[in-house]
């Protein structure tokens, strides 16, 4: 039987440590990664939604590396594991700002991880996207560069 609190197949490639260490910390963690947020969703909204599952200790908003604006993800940490599990069960895959958000275990926030890892500063997924997503800055970064080529001919 599939359990919604089990680890997903995603592993953070930048994790410092072995795969088994990573899995151990994921299993003990009270921190969640929240993805597919709209760039316009605020910390206050996330706080309200995730508080429905328990007391939130801290929220770290994911930011564009260069622009320092929200880029569609965040980390939510609870005081206790059971409340983070509740969020995995009841919030994962439900709507926030009309988007189905993704909730997954995270090994714990480390300074620097709040920034997007894409070349353009946002999340990598927003570079290669070919669809139009109004909540995440329109077309993917690469595509939008092609659509609107550099008009500066000097």
């Amino acid at each position: 039987m599939f359990a919604s609190v089990e680890l997903s197949s995603y592993r953070d490639q930048h994790f410092k440590g072995s795969r088994s260490e990573q899995e151990r910390s994921l299993r003990d963690s009270c921190t969640l990664y929240v993805g597919n947020l709209s760039f316009y969703t605020t910390e206050e909204q996330i706080h309200e939604l995730f508080s429905r599952c328990g007391d939130v200790r801290v929220i770290v908003m994911g930011l564009d590396k260069y622009k320092k604006t929200p880029c569609g993800f965040c980390f939510v940490e609870y005081y206790v594991r059971s409340e983070a599990e509740a969020a995995m069960r009841f919030v994962n895959g439900t709507r926030l700002d009309d988007r189905l958000i993704r909730v997954d275990w995270d090994a714990g926030f480390v300074e620097g991880r709040q920034y997007g890892r894409g070349k353009t500063g946002g999340q990598v997924r927003d570079e290669y996207r070919t669809d139009y997503d109004a909540g995440r800055g329109g077309y993917g970064k690469l595509l939008s560069q092609k659509i609107a080529p550099n008009t500066d001919n000097r």
Partner: protein, 751 residues
């Protein structure tokens, strides 16, 4: 291959055997678990498969495993007891010894489950044993004897006033419930047995003599009497008896063994020793009393075709099955939605989805407390709506409409749960909701100030606030009809009053702001500026400093929290152990965030979590004179309960757990909770008498409801200070009899 070659052949055999064993084990495990999702012919097929597999003869180790899985599953999936009974019946035909082991182990585990207070398991095993009689595995005399053992405690109750030396009613209720719920399973077969008749008589006497006073207090609606669950159940079971145990239609009683009648007939009956139930132990907790929850009746909003009447065995059986599915799968909303829907699909003649929505809402609003968090039920309803968009959403809308129209008499104790659920639910569906219909049902003309505290008005206002918290102001403004825009709070922007330089404290504010904006700002520098400022009192200084911090951090929660973390030491120096100082901080929070309940709550909560404000100060402040009007708003109670939760967590971490009494309430928590009740009673008793329909009257009703809610939430903690509660109640009885009545009823019915 290379590795295998090195092993000698016997090792290889063992390895292979082990592998086979493991495969067998996981197959059986899987198949047994799958029984829980299936119904109808699918279930029969699965039972045949499993029966064939096990009939081939299984190894001893596997037998042990099967038996333990059986009992675990009975605890986790009590609703599938009949399927497991059928399985044991099929085993019995093939392997008498094995079946004997199963039965023996089950009876043993039932006894243990009473010890470990695992009531679901206990009930599951009882139902399974009862069905084992139907599967010709155990004798009628044994099963009747077992049920009689359960009724023994109930029979001991000779006189309701004679309470000395007998077990608590919750225990007797649970035991009676086990027996009563088993009756429809065996009534037809056993009605002529004298022992069965005796059981029915004992049940009748017990139901008549026990007290069902709690039903008033546990009703969600004051004017809509919800009857005691056990009483209603008795009425239905008795009705079945008078009807000569005619089988309810649509296979509402699951009897998968019926299709195996031919096979099961060949099984031999086991004879077991008579059963004796272990006695009540001090401190043992039992399932709380419950009342019937029905919102869809024959006369409610249009006819619902084929829906069994609210009080009927059919409705009860539907409810019981749905409840069992919730118990089994509440943590996996997708699986739960699937199995609920499969269940509904197996009875196409009945509008089962009405019952599904009704049961989920009933559990969510259940008093004194719901079993799980509101979002557990909410996310399940969202899932159901998504999976069956042509069926469930309209039922939810109908249910919500009925609940909205009954708001005037709804208990305050489940009001917050309702608001939280509705806001969460509609946030998943673009905030679509019956806004205009609801607005038009308000007394016209709609003037939010004239009817400020009417339940429907408060509901709409709080709902809109919650929607704004989950979304944003502009969005909600676009969604709601113009008629409701007055109910929408203004955008929650910060307010910084010290821009007016004539105000006392403005000079300090200006100095602080300048210093805090400077990159070199440190707690030490700020502390010195505060100390050196002259001409204003210490409390104003604290207030100014707080407002400055919040003003600077007003961009988001994170900004605020970062500033509070930076100047935590300054705050602590200023207000440590000083309650007046802490109140000054809280006043500062409310000055800046006057327009945002969300910020007021979250910032105050944070101040408690970082130990700047003590929970007791929150209590003092909430019940202070300036907050009287705020007591009718939700966020105040969110804050209060959050502060108590925080205190509980902290005390739990520091205290040494008392081995003899692990449930004992921590003295610090106890004293805070006591103060909460004391202050609530005081503020209620000093309220002026007012005519019905006036704002003052509504205020009293809201706050009285909050008293009840507080008692309900911390019922376990209040158990230890029962006598003190009674004392508060007695002292207050002169002024406002409602207050002492509420406390007395709580002590009598819930504790």
């Amino acid at each position: 291959m290379g590795r295998r070659k090195r092993q000698d052949s016997s090792d290889g055999d063992e390895f292979r055997l082990k592998r086979t064993f493991q495969t067998m084990l996981s197959t059986v495990d899987q198949l047994m678990r799958e029984l829980t999702f299936a119904c109808g012919t699918l279930l029969e097929l699965k039972l045949v498969n499993l029966g064939n597999l096990l009939a081939k003869g299984v190894r001893v180790e596997l037998k042990e495993h099967i038996v333990s899985v059986l009992v675990i599953n009975l605890g986790n999936y009590p609703g599938q007891a009949s399927a497991y009974a059928t399985l044991v019946g099929l085993i019995n035909v093939a392997d008498f010894e094995f079946a004997s082991e199963c039965v023996f182990f089950m009876v043993q585990k039932m006894g243990e489950s009473v010890h470990t207070r695992d009531w679901n398991k206990c009930r599951g095993v009882v139902h399974c044993l009862v069905d084992l009689y139907n599967c010709r595995v155990i004798s009628s005399s044994y099963i009747l004897n077992l049920l009689a053992a359960f009724m023994k405690d109930c029979e001991a109750l000779k006189d309701p006033d004679d309470l000395v030396g007998i077990t608590p009613q919750v225990r007797r209720d649970f035991l009676a419930y086990c027996v009563l719920s088993a009756m429809p399973l065996i009534g037809r077969e056993l009605e002529l047995e004298a022992a069965f008749d005796k059981l029915m008589v004992s049940l009748q006497i017990y139901i008549k003599k026990r007290s069902a006073l709690h039903s008033t207090m546990l009703s969600v609606w004051r004017d809509f009497n919800q009857r005691d669950y056990l009483e209603v159940m008795w009425q239905q079971v008795d009705g079945m008896r008078q009807n000569h145990w005619a089988e309810p239609e649509h296979q509402l009683i699951p009897r998968p063994y019926k299709s195996f009648d031919e096979t099961l007939r060949h099984g031999k009956v086991h004879h077991l020793r008579n059963y004796c139930l272990s006695a009540h132990e001090e401190g043992c907790r039992y399932p709380a009393p419950r009342v019937c929850f029905r919102i869809f009746s024959c006369d409610s909003v249009g006819e619902i075709p084929n829906l069994p009447p609210p009080v009927s065995i059919e409705r009860h059986l539907l409810e019981a099955q749905i409840l069992d599915m919730l118990i089994s799968f509440h943590n996996e909303r997708k699986i739960c939605a699937d199995s609920l829907w499969m269940y509904a699909a197996s009875k196409p003649q009945l509008p089962v989805y009405y019952c599904i929505v009704e049961v989920i809402l009933g559990e969510m609003l259940r008093l004194p407390n719901a079993k799980w968090t509101t979002i557990t039920y909410g996310s399940l309803l969202v899932e159901l709506c998504k999976r069956q968009p042509d069926k469930i959403p309209q039922v939810v809308v109908q249910a919500l409409d009925i609940i909205y129209n009954r708001l005037n008499s709804m208990s305050v104790a489940c009001f917050d749960r309702l608001v939280n659920w509705v806001s969460h639910h509609i946030s998943n569906f673009g905030f679509n909701c019956q806004w205009s219909k609801w607005a038009h049902s308000l007394p016209s003309p709609i003037d939010p100030s004239a009817t400020n505290l009417q339940p429907k008005v408060v509901f709409l206002r709080e709902l809109l606030k919650k929607c704004c918290r989950l979304s944003y102001h502009q969005r909600i403004k676009e969604v709601v009809p113009d008629i409701l825009v007055n109910f929408l709070p203004p955008p929650g922007l910060p307010h910084f009053k010290f821009v007016d330089e004539t105000l006392p404290g403005a000079i300090l504010s200006k100095d602080l702001l300048e210093a805090m904006r400077c990159p070199r700002a440190s707690p030490k520098i700020i502390s010195e500026i505060i100390k050196s400022s002259t001409g204003i009192g210490p409390l104003l200084k604290i207030n100014v400093f707080t407002q400055n911090c919040l003003h600077l951090g007003s961009k988001s929660f994170s900004h605020t929290f970062a500033i509070l973390a930076k100047y935590q030491s300054v705050f602590k120096d200023l207000v440590k152990g000083d309650w007046d100082g802490q109140i000054a901080v809280l006043n500062g929070v409310f000055d800046v965030w006057v327009a945002s309940d969300h910020y007021k709550f979250v910032v105050a909560e944070k101040l408690v979590k970082v130990f700047i404000i003590e929970p007791i100060s929150i209590v003092t402040w909430i019940f202070g004179p300036s907050m009287r009007k705020e007591l009718t708003k939700m966020y105040i109670w969110e804050l209060l309960h959050s502060a108590v939760r925080h205190l509980k967590r902290v005390q739990h971490d520091v205290e040494v757990v008392d081995v003899d009494n692990p449930n004992a309430c921590d003295p610090v928590v106890k004293s805070v909770l006591y103060t909460v009740v004391e202050r609530l009673v005081k503020i209620l008793c000093s309220a002026p008498f007012a005519d019905e329909g006036t704002e003052e009257h509504y205020w009293f009703q809201w706050v009285l409801g909050r008293l009840e809610e507080t008692l309900f939430i911390y019922a376990d903690d209040f158990k230890v200070i029962k006598n003190k509660l009674m004392k508060i109640s007695e002292n207050s009885s002169d002024n406002r009899p409602e207050v002492s009545k509420t406390i007395a009823a709580f002590v009598a019915c819930v504790l």
